[in-house]
Subunit: 265 residues, 2 copies
DNA sequence: CAGTGGTCTAGACCACTAT
DNA sequence: TAGTGGTCTAGACCACTGA
């Protein structure tokens, strides 16, 4: 019997199952680690595991690789594989939902185009985005609402091409990267900066809040494959309405992560 | 000769090299994709690649798996493997540096303990952290500075155990998760919330800024393996000094990501 | 020295896609 | 039906660790 440090292991792998063997093993090892193993404890060797379950060592390695990827274990050449200490001090926030959350949920999301026009990039735009001075850009401002409540204020510049004129509906509904891709030269990378800012009078008015309301500022620059800037935008998210949650470590069943914008306090 | 859509491929794999074959192939494929392939284009089949380079299909699969992991390509059963469209609209910010950056850089980082005492968890603490009302907690407040400039204001509660008394130096210098681990019941997961807040008078005074300064608020709760809360803390980062940068898409050489706290604007 | 994880091979069978 | 990616095997050799 294979010993997982504290107790005999009696799980079995069903080779006829539709779920892959390596994945069954991942789940077995996860459970074994969660129930009674401590950081630093050694897992059985790959050879032991493969013999015990009657599977190939390559399959065992695939399962372990997945646990390494998840940060649950680490392997050391010539020594063994060990339970890792959960990494809890690094903070990773995913802001996918910043946009998506407002869109779903039959909350009547809607947007208002405040201004559109063609501008030539000036010193300021160049400094922020490295778009060369004089470049013709499509400039527009949008307020995004849920119901009658404004939540996001966006200011964007897109390097202009006559190829395809953009319709108002596109400006409001396309994703940022799709808009930037408009001229056929697709963006392949983007640089983002997250800051906190106090809204100025103008922004506060557009968002219908008092001018001293704090806000998340997300600034993005998109580049094509040759590192030419294609677009630059700043989105302001009302700080009184948005918070970002994140989770780290060995997730239990109740894993969650996302953005709320309907919060107390 | 293997055709990578646009041109003949003349790279070669050195099987005697110290760098693994699969990794050489990853780099070759990356270069091939960056130079002239577009999202949606098909890669050569795994079989074609293995024959062309004279390597096993399993090794080819390992290289491709790495590209899938990186989000550069995607595979479809029965169809083939294709170049992916870079995901640029989801925002992922890593705040590892929030702490680390201030520590390095011979910038004379230093911390000041404002208060320590034992408290019993009240209604408010319970609501924020789910630490049961009445639980004895170590409560302390710290200001972290670089040189003479205060940057971070922290308020923390740790579920108290008599096991190991904590020294002042530990409170100031240990990582948050190490402090929480003090009582021998290690934290295995944490929940975090990022918000923007206006500093109140008390916080602003501690950070030596005007009270209407906005700040990042990072709130963390640590749990043990049985989902018992072990600690709860709020860190306030001066919004005028911190910004968080992030990068997405097909990284060129000049990949960068992190936290700056010495910024213009 | 024996044991470990890291790499790699040359097959095999499968489910799926397209024709 | 032919071709694709997904899984799995039973070996092999290597570099590294520890006694």
């Amino acid at each position: 019997m294979l010993k997982f440090k504290n107790k005999n292991h009696n799980k079995i792998i069903d080779k006829t199952s539709f779920t892959p063997v390596y994945y069954q093993l991942v789940k077995i090892l996860e459970k074994e680690i969660l129930n009674g193993m401590m950081p630093g404890d050694a897992l059985p060797t790959e050879h032991e595991i493969s013999v015990h379950f009657g599977i190939s060592r390559m399959t065992v390695r695939r399962a372990i690789a997945q646990l390494v990827q998840a940060g649950m274990v680490y392997a050391e050449k010539g020594r063994g594989t060990f339970v890792a200490k959960p990494q809890l001090d690094n903070l990773i926030f995913e802001l996918d939902g910043f946009y998506a959350e407002t869109q779903q949920k039959d909350m009547n999301p809607n947007s208002k185009l405040l201004e559109v026009r063609i501008v030539k990039a000036d010193e300021n735009i160049f400094k922020k985005s490295s778009i060369p001075i004089g470049t013709r850009c499509l400039y527009f401002r949008v307020v995004r609402k849920v119901g009658s409540e404004p939540l996001i204020y966006e200011t964007k510049h897109i390097v202009y091409s006559k190829k395809k004129p953009l319709l108002e509906a596109e400006l409001l509904n396309s994703t940022w990267s799709n808009l930037v891709a408009n001229n056929g030269n697709p963006p392949v990378r983007s640089q983002k900066t997250l800051q906190v800012k106090l809204l100025n009078d103008h922004e506060a008015k557009a968002l219908q809040v008092s001018p001293i309301t704090p806000a998340f500022s997300v600034e993005q620059v998109f580049y094509d494959i040759d590192n030419n800037p294609l677009g630059w935008g700043i989105s302001l998210y009302r700080g009184d309405r948005y918070k970002i949650t994140s989770h780290a470590g060995w997730a239990g069943e109740n894993y969650s992560k996302g953005v709320d914008f309907e919060n107390e306090q």
